[in-house]
Symmetry: D2
Subunit: 373 residues, 4 copies
């Protein structure tokens, strides 16, 4: 009888429990394996904090948000204990040996794929699943969690339409996505946004204002502007690049200090981008603007049917991989098919929105501004 | 300036208005076309009942269920007017000529593809979009409407779990799908059903009862059985085939009448299948069973973000097709890409669930009964 | 330290777990009591099947539908065991004594109040809470479960509007409520129904048809008819009363048999009332009609915030009652205040919709038909 | 035939369209009146921007969020036009005369009641309805909009539980309510919050930290803290009062400047209270804390059934008031009954949460911290 361990790492994501359930039920019922859960991601793996994932533990969890196992952002090779950072790899290897673990299943996002590859290279048999509401894991069509977050963000935009329309206001709504604009683009299109700003396309505040003003001239005295957390302006980008270039040119400590202060300020400004954009729009368009930051509600709650289906299907496939001794892979979907992808092709890469993506083209066709003319 | 007509035909489906909006906004803004809507499907086309689809008419409809154009199940070549059935094709051709229509966009399911092909062959320039909550249109990955219906059916199953669990009951829930089991299979998997019965896999009531009893022996004194509208039992199938065969063997009018009565009864029984199955399960398992027929709620209401995205993307692509004079095609998605499919490859065909579909395999892996052992 | 027992009886209802949690947490934290749950209503009380309701058991249940304790429709004094019906009262008294129970808290609807009164009269200290989605418990403004069911039924009516409107159909939707029309009236008003039929107001199919036809003449070629499970026609009522009267007049066995058959048929017809009404409307109005029976979905799922608030507030009040040794009462709300009502004022009574209720007047003001002119 | 005008003023609120529909349909169908809508609140009244509210305009708006009439925060007697503030009362009187208006119906919150009283005193026949998501209008049990906002805020808290639980975090969630804590208290109780901070009860950050730490010692390594927008700390209150007192004591310009700076800082700190509280909790409890500000999503979207019922019932009652020439009143609910309340008893007053409110007591019974020990 094979023994498999399961952990969830990184930010929590709807569908994690559906995936744990599918891995577990499939491993137990189809393959006769034993399934052990580790608490709080790689930290629990290092600390040997386990829970038996039997039929009873796997029952009734399909619709629960978050992860019953708990999660953390710890890395196996750089784990903070008290004030110290510590390589927990040998302890982890030892724990897995003591538990007679045949395989370790890691559910997580981009960072987790890296950590899983590290443990695979250290000698463990690892299989992973891609989850994140940001949808930015490489080599897979889509990650579970994304569809639920899309639903929450779209519903919020639907609601903000009421206020925007009734008060003739600009509503600037910030959605999650530090590095990839999938959520902003998807929710913006589905929610009928008028402007969508992505990390992939530096925007011009003037062009955003012009798009809003043009709507007003056409008779629509309100606009919805959807902004990715990680979006930034073209001006900001140029200023940042200039400072970076200037930094290389000089060794004068006074100038360096000045440049460094400029870079710090640029970072601060980036953080308050959404509020500043709202102010810029008020000045340029003479309409009231309001900001809403959706925040952590986007990660939580009952997973959508599509996320449950994806997580369940992938979870069952993971158990098959382990049964076939196929390790060192992330179980992905490509063109709708389940495929194993070698971890080293995934780790350290990120899937951003390509500029010729159909959703981008659809925006252009419908006249939705992407913040540049 | 090109002029295009738009109509919606067949059963209403969430996402139709999102598609109308995308066709219209894209045609107007991107291609400078004029867009005319026909009321109530092919009937309105025959009766020349039109509405101008300008910016104002297209605004605020993205989230509305049903279709602002109205729909009907009429066929161009067999249209009932009063007591008569009538070939409206020539009148339709004339109407389109008078309106200087360059192209006709038909949004509908399997039947609509056939009707659209008929008009294309009669000389119109036709482009179609696949919509149906049943997801059974050929040559496309998925139809808009399906994800919303999946959400409604799954939520209903989630709710029925409360009662099933609290009362230790079997809940038999019938979901839409006369010919294809996509909705039952998807909602069953996503909703954590214990048994899923599809039109594609004739079931045995004994095997269903055994699956429920086995759960009970394992300590779970409740079960959720999801049944497709069009599912039927193996016994029923055999009886039906026998009668059909017998019909061919005889010319004796008495025997024929008897056989015909048997076939009629078989059809009647099929219609009340869900109730009979519940009774059979009560007798076999000594548990209480209750039936819920979800019905028309599955077609209605606000479209899901995924359906809005799909409908919007396909709608924008339709306008591109017309701009490129590409006619006689349905705009489909295949492996995630938008592709035009010749109407004669789609019309008259239906996409049922293949027996080796990943969702079927996932059911087997998780120990979900498909009604046969 | 006082010991209290808690059970849930009758049909499951959203908010039961919120109430159990509030009774338990308040009893433990505020009053230092011990709390024991009985499984499956009065049956578990008779069989001494218990579960400790400590902090851990009460955690995380606020949002779960149904009841974690299970429920049944068994009565203490008429409990079916195998083929026999049996008075379990002495066994129940003995069990409570062995458990050193100071008080028993019964959560249930009208029937449960009766059963609780019976146990109070047999010598137990009983406090009850009113729950039911039907809102028909006497002497309380509202029962928890009603607001959630109202939300589900209203959302269903919202969805059916899509189809009714797109297809120009009459949709007849049957909602729960055998004896009281609260749910039909509330959901009908909130959902914008055109006709609402209640058990309290026998309807005339002709008047319903006239209301639909009048809408059509005014340009609205669709209607939503909301029907309470327990609604019946004036014709049916008269026919039933005639037969009942005729039964008293005769002793002729042939006539009696004929009358009895008539009564049976009347009952059967009542059961299929919704389908017949739809047929009558099709014939009278020449519009298509479709029937949807909402069924058990109305009882299930996550309780609404209002139901959670009500259940939590009442649950906390129950613990106060027990602390004050106030027994033999149902904890009700009257004009928004929590008040204890003696069980003998509640048991055996039912709160139906009074004909001068504000919602009835609102229907009249808005021109919503109640099925009589 | 009487002619009535309708306007919506102040912040938009779910249920406004349901109320407009009920006023209009009832006025037209029941009383044969003519109904005129004014755009954008009192501003449209001054500018004579009207829309005919006939059957067609009132159809299909029941479920739409916001207000079809538009709204603004303008006051009749202090209206900003360009750079000037202007008393529009005489113009309004003239407009109403020209339109032969018999009565004006104003739908709004606390400010609107004041403005309506002003117009009543100036000679118009005014009836008002109380709407606001904050539930802080005096002399009425509840305002429409509140139940919908309660639902949105509670659902958000449900979702935040996923993240709090999975990551062992403190989640501090800020909900609307500048002056009254109804929404925070209701959503906190319904959402299972551990700490609830209201404007009515100045909190101590130490006591909040102690409540969270106590939960942790009991084994729950996460907490949900719900904070009203208008909540502030006891420390802050004392500091503010001291400065206010000191201001009265001195005439020294330097000291006054210093005090003024202190008051300004206090206001700034109050605005960033939620973020500071999260930091204080991180330091005191050694747990991670995250802040979510729900913002404008709380005002938007489809009204809940309870809000639709309330708005519809009150709207119909308004038409009755006008028919009976009963003016100068707000149509309120008290103990569940509809009653007219003289506007001068409502205007300028606000309904805050009384410290002996049942929800407050329920918090105490369940051990939910109110931020003071």
């Amino acid at each position: 009888m094979k023994v498999i361990g399961v952990l969830t790492a990184g930010g929590d994501s709807p569908g994690l429990n559906a995936a744990i359930r599918a891995v577990g039920k499939s491993a137990i019922r189809q393959h006769g394996m034993r399934v052990i859960g580790f608490k709080d991601g790689f930290r629990g793996l290092a600390q040997n904090r386990t829970v038996e994932l039997d039929e009873a533990a796997l029952s009734g969890i399909l619709t629960i948000g978050g992860t019953i196992l708990g999660t953390s952002r710890d890395k196996p090779n750089k784990m903070a204990i008290g004030d110290q950072v510590w390589d927990a790899t040998p302890v982890i290897m030892e724990n897995c040996k003591l538990l007679h673990l045949d395989a370790l299943v890691c559910l997580g996002g981009g960072g987790t794929q890296k950590n899983a590859l590290h443990l695979q290279q250290a000698g463990l048999n690892v299989v992973t699943l891609p989850k994140t509401i940001d949808n930015d894991v490489a080599e897979t069509d889509v990650t579970f969690g994304f569809d639920t977050a899309l639903g929450i963000a779209t519903e919020a935009i639907d609601r903000l339409h009421s206020t925007a329309h009734s008060h003739h206001r600009i509503i600037v709504v910030e959605v999650m996505g530090h590095n990839a604009g999938w959520l902003a683009l998807g929710a913006g299109l589905a929610g009928g946004a008028d402007v969508i700003l992505l990390p992939e396309i530096p925007y011009s505040a003037d062009d955003v204002a012009e798009a809003v003003s043009q709507r007003r001239r056409g008779g629509a005295a309100f606009s919805i502007v959807v902004v990715s957390e990680g979006a930034y302006s073209r001006y900001h980008l140029e200023r940042y690049n200039e400072l970076k270039a200037a930094k290389k040119e000089t060794e004068d400590p006074d100038k360096l200090a000045e440049i460094e202060a400029g870079l710090q300020q640029a970072l601060r400004l980036r953080r308050s981008r959404t509020n500043r954009l709202a102010e810029q729009l008020e000045i340029a368009t003479h309409l009231e603007a309001r900001v809403t930051v959706l925040g952590h509600v986007q990660r939580g709650g009952i997973p959508s049917p599509a996320d449950r289906l994806l997580a369940t299907r992938l979870g069952a496939a993971v158990a098959d991989m382990v049964a076939d001794d196929q390790y060192g892979v992330m179980v992905a979907t490509q063109s709708g098919q389940v495929v194993p992808v070698p971890l080293d092709e995934v780790a350290g890469r990120r899937k951003t929105v390509p500029l010729d993506h159909p959703w981008i083209n659809t925006c252009r066709n419908l006249g939705i501004s992407l913040g540049i003319d």
